[in-house]
Structure formats: structure tokens, C-alpha cells
């Protein structure tokens, strides 16, 4: 009997990473018996699995989105380890992406593999920071895997947002932001910048913000736009999903200054195409410097790249003489983040 080649117990399939001895899938794009879920964004956390293994926060987010999880769930707190079928050990570590987001450290046959899900390295008042952990294989995302993506300090972007509100008297500033994570981070950062007025919410944001508050994230005074008189919204900051920015919904608002909080706003043409007047370069993903810095710090034997602009990151690994491969996974979206 010959020895199995390294890491052969973990196999990338088109719709997810298969942990063969445990018969479990990481962030699978379709319903499976056992799913290890890194975080609550819809493209990573789909419903309908037999068993979902995730942090308690992620499970709460999934329950909010899909109703009560009708099937079994195993909550794993940060730093905790669960043993799966086949003796595979899974440890959930903070990824710094959104509330509850985790990297999953898998240990089997003396080999250590980390699957990051989505992550960032910047401080975020709504979730604990990414934890650098040594491993043999580092499976990383590459959403902003191009050297043009260097996210500016978030304080600069908050200053832009507050200045726009100040300069456009009588109007409101409408900020398009992902309903899970980005919206709450923008609110928390506004509070950190000393903004204490009511922040107004599109209906799609309300429950998720409440969930964050229930988990101890201080978001200050929030109120729903629905039913508010137009006059009350002058000089207000309003948060809505990106799809609502130019939707009929926004007609009720007093001459909104259209803002959008997204890493894609780095590129002028992307901002123009969306009709954004005030681009806020705020991302919950690692930018180019964070991606390359993290690979350097973790210093794995191999780097696997799941989704995003993997070509450039592969090239960087080649230039720095690191072993790397791109996994052709489907179903991850990056459009609005």
C-alpha cells in the first residue's frame, strides 16, 4: 500500500471543497448532508443542509435569513474544535470579515489546512480580527486580488461621508451597503467618528441590524425610513442595499446624494456605471496588500485560491516562489461588496 499524496483528503469540486473522510463540504453551493459554513453571506451559507457546522453568530444569521433552521446545527465558538467523521478536526478562527465569520482550520493525517472563507485584516468594530495561524495549505479568497486594489483607511472614507452630509444642506446622503456586514460596519464606524444622530434604514436592513445589536454591537439610534416624513430625512444619513440606490424606493427621499460603500468604488468607471456620486472605498475583503501580507505571514507550503481575481495572486505567488493553485469553484459572487 502506497501513501496517499499530500492533502488528497481535501478535494475541490465545482460547487465546494469536499472534506472526504468527514464527507463534509465547506460553503457548498448546493444542499449537502454536512456543511461547514464560514460566514453568513448568501453565496457561502445556503440553506437546506442536513447538518450545518458554523459559529453561533453565523447560525443566527442563517436562521434569520432562512427562517428557523429546520435541520441540525452544531455551533462552534471561535477557538473551539469539533471532531468530524473520520477523525477530521475542525477549529473555527476569527476571519474579520463580518459578524461570526470564521476561517476553518482542518487537521487530518498530520496535515493542517486553513480555509479562510472571506476575510480582511483591517480593524472592524463589529467583529474580532483575523487570526494568523500557521498551516500547510492556506485556502484563500482573492476577491480584490489585483494590485490596483488598496483600500484607503476607513477614517478617510467616513470623513468624506460626513463632509458630503455637511455640504449638501437639505439633502440626504443615501449609502448603498451590503445588508449583512457592510451596513453595520459603516454605522459602527460613523459612531466611532462621533456621529450620534439617528441613522435611517431601508426596510431590508432592519432585522440584520437588530441581530447585530442583540450580539452586543453598539449601533446607536436607528430608525426605519418607512413612514418617516420627507422633512425628517433632510441632512440624514440613510443606509440601503445597493439595489435600492436608484430604485423607485429612493424617490421618497429628499434629493439623495448617492453614495456606495464598496471596494469596487476604487475604480472610477465602476462608480460611474452605478451612478454613484460619492464613492466610499470600504470593503470587508482583504485588499492586495492584505492578501499578499497574509500569505507571507501564514507562510504555508501551498496556497490555494478559491474565488475572485486569482490570476494576479497566482502570478504574485510565482514571483515570490510560492507553490499555488487556483480552484475553479463556482457560485461565489462579488458584485456588490
Amino acid at each position: 500500500m502506497t501513501m496517499a499524496p499530500p492533502f488528497s483528503w481535501l478535494k475541490p469540486e465545482p460547487f465546494g471543497l469536499h472534506v472526504i473522510p468527514a464527507d463534509a463540504w465547506i460553503d457548498p453551493a448546493r444542499a449537502v448532508d454536512t456543511a461547514l459554513v464560514t460566514h453568513g453571506h448568501a453565496d457561502h451559507a445556503r440553506g437546506g443542509h442536513g447538518l450545518t457546522v458554523a459559529t453561533p453568530e453565523t447560525l443566527a444569521i442563517m436562521a434569520l435569513r432562512y427562517g428557523v433552521l429546520e435541520t441540525a446545527a452544531t455551533p462552534v465558538a471561535y477557538g473551539e474544535t469539533v471532531t468530524l467523521k473520520g477523525g477530521v478536526k475542525a477549529t473555527y478562527l476569527p476571519a474579520g470579515h463580518v459578524l461570526g465569520s470564521a476561517q476553518i482550520l482542518l487537521e487530518h493525517a498530520g496535515e493542517r489546512v486553513i480555509v479562510t472563507g472571506d476575510y480582511k485584516r483591517r480593524a472592524d468594530p463589529t467583529c474580532p480580527p483575523f487570526q494568523v495561524t500557521p498551516c500547510d495549505v492556506f485556502v484563500t479568497e482573492a476577491t480584490f486580488g489585483l494590485p490596483v486594489f488598496r483600500h484607503p483607511p476607513i477614517a478617510d472614507e467616513m470623513a468624506k461621508l460626513l463632509a458630503a452630509r455637511e455640504n449638501e444642506q437639505g439633502r440626504c446622503v443615501l449609502v448603498g451597503a451590503y445588508a449583512l456586514g457592510k451596513a453595520q460596519r459603516v454605522i459602527a464606524e460613523l459612531r466611532a467618528a462621533g456621529y450620534n444622530d439617528t441613522i435611517w434604514l431601508h426596510g431590508a436592513m432592519e432585522r440584520m441590524c437588530r441581530l447585530y445589536q442583540d450580539h452586543g454591537v453598539d449601533l446607536g439610534d436607528l430608525q426605519a425610513v418607512a413612514g418617516a416624513p420627507k422633512a425628517a430625512l433632510a441632512n440624514a444619513i440613510i443606509i440601503c442595499p445597493p439595489s435600492a440606490l436608484n430604485d423607485r424606493w429612493s424617490r421618497r427621499l429628499p434629493e439623495p446624494v448617492t453614495a456606495m460603500a464598496s471596494g469596487w468604488m476604487r475604480v472610477r468607471q465602476r462608480a460611474r456605471q452605478r451612478g454613484v456620486e460619492l464613492p466610499l472605498i470600504i470593503s470587508d475583503h482583504a485588499d492586495w496588500d492584505e492578501l499578499t501580507q497574509t500569505i507571507g505571514q501564514v507562510n504555508p507550503a501551498e496556497t490555494w485560491i478559491t474565488h475572485g481575481r486569482e490570476e494576479a495572486l497566482l502570478r504574485w505567488c510565482e514571483l515570490t516562489q510560492r507553490k499555488a493553485r487556483a480552484l475553479a469553484l463556482v457560485g461565489y459572487e462579488d458584485e456588490d461588496d
Binding site: V148, N246, V267, R268, Q269, R272, E277, L278, A312
Partner: protein, 535 residues
């Protein structure tokens, strides 16, 4: 440079004209000379630095960034200057202070091909990412952000509360950084001299006629020709001789009409309509082809011999502003007209004729003549107050345009697209069609035109709702409707077109009425539209 970079970014992202004007005006008021003048030149005409080309940016980057990473980044961003601004490696330590716009311009002007790489790199090191973008755009003269010369002048007037006509007049002949202009507008100095150079003078414009009738004792009537309004200026003085042809917006189009430019040798400033001679000899004085023929000559920087032979241009003169250095603009229209009539016989008759005054006993007689005018080069009638001076812009009560009644046709709404800016949540751009035969016998609708105005705000709300409730397909930003709504479309003329499947192209189509009362199958057929083709 940082302030200029912020202005540039704000202009790129601001859809509304008024907001753009306010941004430009604020910048001009708050920025010292000569920065504001250079910035204005960079935003409008572009500054030319022969030693700095896009290839220099590429070679600078090739020394600093892996070629594969550069190509992947450039392909993603889609713009060389922006990609370079993002990829430029920040120098270690504290950045030197950012250069002013003037320092950048002076440095780049003094640059040779040999020194350019070092000089540009030093400037890039002193700027942040947005500053680097602005620098590279300015250096390569490729702003392309839709700031026309006219917009810049309106903003200038707004910034310093001076009249835009004065700005137009003094602007020409001034070179960047326009310090005498800013001295005049911002500091109350004497305006720059304008008589030595072939400068543009702002046009006198007309209001649409709204009154039922005018007394022809006070007003003279002329045809309104359907070409492009031009001003032809010839100067001869110690600086030399030169002729220029200017368009309505003050753009110099001399190069596109060399036969007209060459034909004027008398020092004067003329106002007229540029037309081309064509097969359609008609009208009271003859010789003008339709606007469609003139279009062959428009928008070209240079012109081929074949173009000159097939579509020869000439100018039908309306007015005389200056003759032999004598400014006639304060004179009455009647006095200027007499001078013009005396001048025209001395001009090259193949290139210049005079727009005839229409003989009419009274207003009803004029209306009768207007309704009989079938010449396609006639757009309508102009009514000019006999005692009117030549004043820039639209002054109430002096000149009126009385356009021919528009043509009308009933079309069916086929597709709708969202507008931009304030209209970005509304479906406000409409494509409509006519039947290519009998709709009860299986005929189809073919698109014949597109319109995005002519309706009120209330009607827009109705149309938006209609589109959303009657969508049968979506293609990107476009919705296809169930083709149940009829529009009465007004348009100025219609021409044969090979570029359109329907074979026709309308001029100035607009929604004149929404015909909810009319079933779609009763809309007009393509044949009805084709019968109105002018050429």
C-alpha cells in the same frame, strides 16, 4: 494639485450640469492664479506636452511593476492613467509637498523626451493616488470628462458674476492661463483687447414666437434656414490676415470648411447660415440642400476633395456685426441690413449670398407664405425687430423664430430605458415603432425613433408606471413593453437612412401626446412616415 484632483473626481461623478457649474465656479473663485487658468485649460481644450505620451506612462510602469500584473490590472481598470495612478509604488518616508498645477504645467512644458521619465516620476512621487490620476490625465491631455468650452465659460461667468456674453467675447484670443481674463473678472481690471485677432463674438439668438401676431411695421421677416448658424470673421492688420469660421458654440470649424474660409478677404464679421448646395434646388433663392446633405460635412476635422466636390458649402448671410473695424452692433437691424446689402455684391458669389427678406403685406400674408414654403432647407421664419441692436444671447422682444409646424405621426411604444441623473429611477427614454404593413394581417412593428422629452413630469410618472406594468422582456437596462401604448410623435423632418432597419431617421422626435385613447393597431404604418421623407 490636490484641489484640482478633487475637482476632477467630483466632475467625473456629477451627472447634473448645474452641479458641475457650481463645482467649477467654486474652484475658480477659491484657486489663485495661475493655477485656475491652467486647470481650466486642462479641463476644456487639454494642454499639450509633446514629451509626455501614454507610452511614457507604460514604460515608467514597466520599470516598477511586473508586466503580467500590469496587464491584468490595466485590463480590469480599462484606463492606463488610472491603472498607473493606483499601481505607482509610494516612496518610503514622508511625501514631499504636492506641486501646484502651475508647477506641474511649467515643469512639463520644460521637459524633453530625454528628461521626461525622471521628471514625471518625481512629480508622481509627490502626489497621492487621486493626485497621480489628475497629473497623468493632465499630462497626456486626455481628460474626456465632458466639460465643453461653453460650460467652462458659463461657470466662469457664474463664479465672478459677470455676463456670459462678455466672457465669450473676451475669452477668444486669450491663451492659458488666462490671467488677463481673471484680472478683469475677479479684480476689476480693464477687459482684454479683442479687435486685433479673428475673434468670436457671441451670437444674437431668438425666442420662439408665442404671440398670435406681430406688426410687420416693427418687424422684418426672413426665412430661417436649416443649416448651421456660423460666424465668419476676417481680420487684416499688422499681425497678418486670417479668416475663421465659428459655430454656434464658438468652436472654430474653419478647418472643416476651407472653401468658405478661403473665400472671405474683406475685413468684417458676418453672421449667417452654413448650407451645402445639393440636388434639391428649391426655395425662394434656391441652391440649398437639406440638412441631411450638410450633415455629411459636419464633425470632420479635415475634408476630402470628394467631399468638397459633392457637398460644396456656402453661407447665406443674415447680419453684419463689424465692417472694416467699425463695430455696427449698436446700430439698428435696418441700418446693419443696409450695410450688409451693400457688402454682399463685393463678396465671392459662389460662397456667399444674402438671406432674402420675405415680402408680406401683413402678418396673415406672412403666415400664408410660411405655410406654402416647401423648401426643405427652410426651417421656418425669423422675425426681427427693425430697430434691434445686435445683442448677445436671447433678449425678449427683439428676435423671434417661428418654426414650421412639426410633422406628426402615431407610433407604438416598444422599448424603454432608464434615464440618468434625476431621472435614474424612471423609465424615460422611449423607443417607438410603426407597422410595416397591416397589423391585422401579421405586420410587425419596426423601431423608427427614440425620444426622451416632450412629456410633463406627471406624464413621465404615468409612462414609468406603464413600462413597469407592461414589461414583457428585459435586456440589461432596457425593458421591452407589450406594445400597447400609442404616442403621437412630433418631429421636424424625416430622412432615408441605411443605418436603420426601418429605412428612416427622424430629426428632433419628441413625444407630443400620449394617446391612451388609441389602440395600437391603429397607429401609423411605415409607409405613412416614408411619404414624408424630404430627400
Amino acid at each position: 494639485m490636490n484641489r484640482f484632483a478633487a475637482l476632477l473626481d467630483a466632475l467625473v461623478l456629477t451627472p447634473s450640469r448645474n452641479a458641475k457649474l457650481a463645482l467649477l465656479a467654486d474652484y475658480m473663485r477659491e484657486t489663485p492664479d495661475p493655477d485656475r487658468g491652467w486647470a481650466l485649460a486642462a479641463l476644456t481644450d487639454g494642454l499639450d506636452f509633446p514629451a509626455v505620451k501614454a507610452s511614457l506612462i507604460r514604460s515608467l510602469m514597466a520599470q516598477r511593476v511586473d508586466p503580467v500584473l500590469w496587464t491584468l490590472s490595466r485590463d480590469y481598470v480599462g484606463d492606463t492613467a488610472e491603472t498607473a495612478s493606483l499601481l505607482w509604488p509610494e516612496p518610503p518616508g514622508t511625501r514631499l509637498p504636492a506641486p501646484s498645477v502651475a508647477e506641474v504645467v511649467e515643469t512639463l512644458h520644460a521637459t524633453t523626451r530625454a528628461t521626461a521619465p525622471t521628471i514625471l516620476a518625481d512629480l508622481l512621487d509627490r502626489l497621492d493616488v487621486n493626485g497621480r490620476y489628475a497629473l497623468l490625465k493632465l499630462a497626456t491631455g486626455a481628460m474626456r470628462i465632458g466639460i465643453s468650452a461653453r460650460l467652462a465659460k458659463v461657470a466662469f461667468a457664474q463664479a465672478f458674476s459677470v455676463s456670459v456674453e462678455d466672457v465669450e467675447e473676451y475669452w477668444h484670443g486669450q491663451a492659458p492661463p488666462y490671467t488677463p481674463l481673471f484680472d478683469w473678472a475677479a479684480n476689476g481690471a480693464e477687459p482684454p483687447r479683442t479687435d486685433l485677432l479673428p475673434l468670436f463674438r457671441p451670437f444674437m439668438l431668438a425666442h420662439p414666437l408665442e404671440a398670435e401676431s406681430l406688426d410687420l411695421k416693427d418687424y422684418a421677416a426672413e426665412w430661417k434656414w436649416d443649416g448651421i448658424r456660423v460666424q465668419i470673421v476676417h481680420v487684416a492688420n499688422e499681425l497678418g490676415r486670417e479668416t475663421r469660421v465659428y459655430s454656434r458654440s464658438g468652436d472654430d470649424i474653419s478647418g472643416a470648411f476651407p472653401e468658405v474660409t478661403a473665400a472671405l478677404t474683406t475685413p468684417c464679421v458676418l453672421d449667417g447660415e452654413l448650407l451645402v448646395r445639393g440636388a434639391h434646388q428649391g426655395g425662394e433663392t434656391g441652391g440649398a440642400a437639406s440638412f441631411n446633405a450638410l450633415q455629411q460635412r459636419l464633425g470632420r476635422k479635415t475634408v476630402s476633395k470628394a467631399m468638397l466636390a459633392d457637398y460644396p458649402a456656402f453661407v447665406r448671410l443674415y447680419d453684419l456685426l463689424i465692417e472694416d473695424g467699425e463695430d455696427l452692433r449698436e446700430w439698428s437691424w435696418e441700418q446693419r441690413r443696409a450695410r450688409l446689402e451693400a457688402l454682399v455684391p463685393r463678396l465671392d458669389a459662389t460662397r456667399f449670398d444674402i438671406s432674402q427678406v420675405i415680402a408680406a403685406r401683413d402678418f396673415d400674408d406672412l403666415a400664408e407664405t410660411r405655410s406654402r414654403a416647401r423648401d426643405e432647407a427652410i426651417e421656418g421664419v425669423m422675425l426681427k425687430r427693425r430697430d434691434s441692436p445686435y445683442v448677445a444671447g436671447r433678449r425678449t422682444g427683439l428676435w423671434y423664430k417661428w418654426k414650421r409646424d412639426p410633422l406628426l405621426i402615431d407610433c407604438v411604444l416598444m422599448y424603454a430605458q432608464r434615464g440618468s441623473g434625476k431621472r435614474s429611477s424612471f423609465y424615460s427614454d422611449f423607443t417607438f415603432g410603426c407597422w410595416n404593413g397591416d397589423p391585422d394581417a401579421g405586420a410587425e412593428l419596426l423601431p423608427v425613433g427614440k425620444a426622451y422629452f416632450g412629456f410633463t413630469d406627471e406624464e413621465l410618472k404615468f409612462l414609468d408606471r406603464h413600462v413597469r406594468q407592461h414589461t414583457i422582456g428585459k435586456f440589461g437596462p432596457v425593458r421591452e413593453t407589450d406594445k400597447s401604448l400609442v404616442f403621437e410623435v412630433a418631429f421636424d423632418s424625416v430622412h432615408a437612412s441605411k443605418r436603420h432597419k426601418s429605412g428612416v431617421a427622424m430629426r428632433f422626435p419628441r413625444i407630443s401626446r400620449i394617446r391612451t385613447d388609441k389602440p395600437a393597431h391603429e397607429a401609423d404604418r411605415l409607409d405613412a412616415l416614408k411619404a414624408l421623407i424630404a430627400d
